[in-house]
Symmetry: D3
Subunit: 226 residues, 6 copies
């Protein structure tokens, strides 16, 4: 199975300081999944470093496009950290295009990307990569265990979806971008790409255990399909 993993930057750069043991655990998980015979590609977000630099740049009057460029740099630094932890399973080069990522897959290695272009979140990049390399599955690791109709951290009666269609995901992202306070697992652009590419998506808690589970067909979260 060809799987794209979409991870927040907080995996590599959490608020409370980077945790080297945690990073190793993630790396070992991806190695195991690869050893089981799967093809693995990873997209990492910008996390704390991105937020810090973008905050300063905004105060100095930078436009959002330039802030995005700063964020992309941070995602690539995070990708380099994960590449280091993957050792021989990856290649010491962060791909900046999908063609390059596909080339690395063809070499039998794990490509680890960050952002690519202003205006795209890494969620949108992960969806685009999955589309470009015809991935069998896109795994989105979040801080909750699936897609909910409301933010489960705020509403006790939030209901989790076991399955949903891409159309439903787009609607959720739409209503989320309409009403402040509501929350969506991915931004609207990412949802749209998932829809147009008819990707199969698994949204799970972004722990090493759950990522490994997904590769074994056990999805403790939400499946988006159809």
């Amino acid at each position: 199975m060809r799987i794209v993993f979409d991870l927040g930057g907080s995996v590599v750069m959490p608020k409370e300081g980077a945790n080297v043991e945690k990073i190793k655990e993630y790396a070992n998980t991806f190695k195991k999944i690869k050893d089981e015979g799967h093809e693995v590609a990873i997209v990492v977000g910008g996390g704390r470093t991105a937020r810090e630099y973008i905050g300063i740049a905004r105060e100095l009057g930078a436009n959002e496009g330039f802030c995005d460029e700063l964020g992309i740099m941070a995602t690539r630094m995070n990708a380099m950290i994960l590449i280091t932890a993957l050792g021989d399973y990856s290649i010491k080069k962060v791909p900046t295009s999908f063609e390059e990522a596909e080339l690395i897959l063809n070499l039998g290695k794990i490509p680890v990307m960050g952002g690519t272009h202003p205006g795209h979140t890494t969620d949108a990049v992960a969806a685009s990569l999955a589309e470009f390399i015809n991935a069998d599955l896109l795994v989105i690791g979040t801080n909750v265990d699936g897609v909910y109709d409301k933010d489960p951290n705020k509403y006790e009666d939030a209901k989790k979806f076991d399955k949903m269609s891409a159309k439903q995901l787009v609607d959720l992202a739409l209503s989320s971008s309409l009403k402040a306070g509501s929350s969506s697992v991915v931004d609207l652009l990412a949802a749209k790409i998932i829809e147009r590419a008819r990707l199969k998506v698994a949204v799970v808690k972004g722990t090493p255990e759950e990522l490994l589970n997904v590769s074994k067909g056990i999805i403790n979260g939400t499946i988006i399909e159809g």
Copy 2:
């Protein structure tokens, strides 16, 4: 004034065959606007050539990301045609990044861009470029004379907006992407960029006359602001 013009590819490559005189007229208009002391940047769409190639690629099973790459090539060919017509007012190179476009502006020339990256329409590129170079105005040349609440070609009672807010534009793009059949002047991503960058936008009929009018402060269309 620093102005970004966003033109459909049909200007260069209309259905019925390219019209060299028409292209010259557009080029002369942009030269005039430049001679009046404005800084001009242009983004051109893919038009007929893009549609033709994307159509074939889709039938052959290409994913949308790869189709976007084909479309980008077509937009750049269209940009090269307009560059030719602009002669010494431009530079014989289609910029592929906003940094390059800004450099050409700094040389006192007119940059003409096409698309930049899969997942972005040229509308989104034009909005991003306007944001990146801190343009005073983004001019969107369409086939109608402004933004309407419904498609004026289909509904007699369609009402034109004289002014609207960026928030309203986003809402329109949202409802348009929700309901098939409704129409929006720009896609949702472009609308979002316009909103976040607080761009001043003029939506007018994309004729040489109206583009020239806009540069003189006469906007026969819709102003988006605030």
Copy 3:
């Protein structure tokens, strides 16, 4: 055997509109040849799209160098179409240098190139690629079934060569560039490269059947050697 195929752009973009079935047929032919154990590289021309854009650019006063750049873009779009049809047999990236093409061959895939540089036809690119990768055979697919002493579409007494030397090919290209109305299968630069690289060349009708035949050693056309 390492084979370079040189195809006109009309294969992908014929006058009467692209024929998806035809493109699939070509792709399947190249897959078969690859499956037989041959190494395959392809160079595609610009066809109708190139002619259309260059026509407009010329009318607008573009110099021939810039027209060549437009033509190169068109050849690359055609290459992308063929790459789509080849699926996993190729890589979703049009090489822009011979080094890149060789790298893709080394990955066990089929590189599909277009033009590379102003001043070179795709015939010259194909000959240069064959030279660069030390190809065993360069196959030129044309609209007639070999090399003739005169244009067989115009002269009934045109005589086909079964075999000819590279020197003879150069002479033919020379006299063709001297006398308007005469026709040569390749331009002079391509002929010169064939001569200096001592390439073995097969000129055949550019149908899927004949291309397949060549890979089996059946050459219904002209062999250039020595």
Copy 4:
């Protein structure tokens, strides 16, 4: 006068959190110097972000070359922050080669570089840039007010040089790299480049006031020459 300023990354990213007002003050200083008619180029170090990422990468077993790449990314993010604060005085692009930096100077703008290549500190980059663009002066802003024979923060009897030769600087860097505990204002490679290029260097406290002073010919620090 053509001046290269060499600043530590802690200017942009100090330990205690970035100080937007401080960054603005630096930017305003450089604008003033430019307005006085000088040509200004700046090289910024990696600071806290570089140290944080390199620390993690080292723990994960990265080699020093790869750590350098991470550091270079951080220097470029810092450069982008300073570029933002410089607004129209700079160009929204971090040059990655000296040629590019010279081009930006030729456009009448301030280039802001970070690192360029593994194995080079930003001190060495600043010296190389000064050499490449034939700068009249290289200004090194440090946390003390000049070059001392011992670390003035540790030794009360440390003596400041008012003037010294490049040869002396190299000797100091050498003995510093020999004996742990001793301190040098620049690394050995930077010192060697200063020597071979016969650069005039001013080492001063890296405050906005002192940088401005230098541009006026008032050097409250150490002059290296000859």
Copy 5:
């Protein structure tokens, strides 16, 4: 006047060892021409270094395409030497495309190119550059004082052309490539580009004096036009 100068590599790297004084003389000539108000662009050949490396590569079995790449490297080293001698009149970067060369001209500097692509002599590059930047004049500096009907070093009765048409130049290049022993001032590809671009060409002895003369309208050689 916008002038392209096409110089053999032997100017920089003659057989008997480089002559620094000679190079300075050439550089001073180009500076003078620029000071007179002309726009100057230069293309330099590969000379002795190119011949030496290509000789070895051929013996080792390199194909001609790879030999061309070696030659291009040598031409660029020669261009760097001339750039050094030109100081502030040029930019310390050898352009590798015509777009880059045009950009340098737009900055008010002298671009100095070498080769660009396998299969093109620097004569062809000079002609293409002249075409691309719409030069008013292409000056070819050779070792004789114009174009002759036979090699004037071998035949006493060789007759110099004062004027000739591009068509005649092509014919000469053709017959030269047909008959071993005859000699042409430029290769066939360069002649063809001169013809198609309708360039005005001056062929003169490649001495500093004659190059300066040409810029003053005194052409002691052959004018190709029409």
Copy 6:
């Protein structure tokens, strides 16, 4: 074993003219080492060509950074010669970054690099490459048979080291850069990289025989370790 070989440019371009047979001998040696199952990477110096061009550039007033660029070009031409001799064992492309070199290794081929960046000798490049690809051994081929405490060509009582530590190598390079007349096998930057990367290094006479010997574990020279 993964081995990096560091060879002077005089191997390819000796003073007395290139020796094609010698180059073939070197190439055959590297092929044998590869056939024994080792991974091989090579870095070549600039030799005579580099010295000649740098000499001229210096006389013309070039700064050392620009001279380095010239030297890098020469190293790459030398690398191309060795690549030619290696035929199918290498790839017809000189890598310009360590990532590229690693990619070529991953394709089962021999990367042959020259210099990479101003300020680095090819010794430093070889050490950096060995660090980057985690080489098991760095082999430095010199004109004497190991590391001596003084120049063995000048002092009869010079003593060869059989083993030494990286720290000792750094000290030797330091004292060598301090005292004119003393000689070091590598420059200080290369020594520092060897030290920080804890590389195992073999310094031997740079003949084909001795290079082959090293690959078999027979080191007739100096081992640097620890």
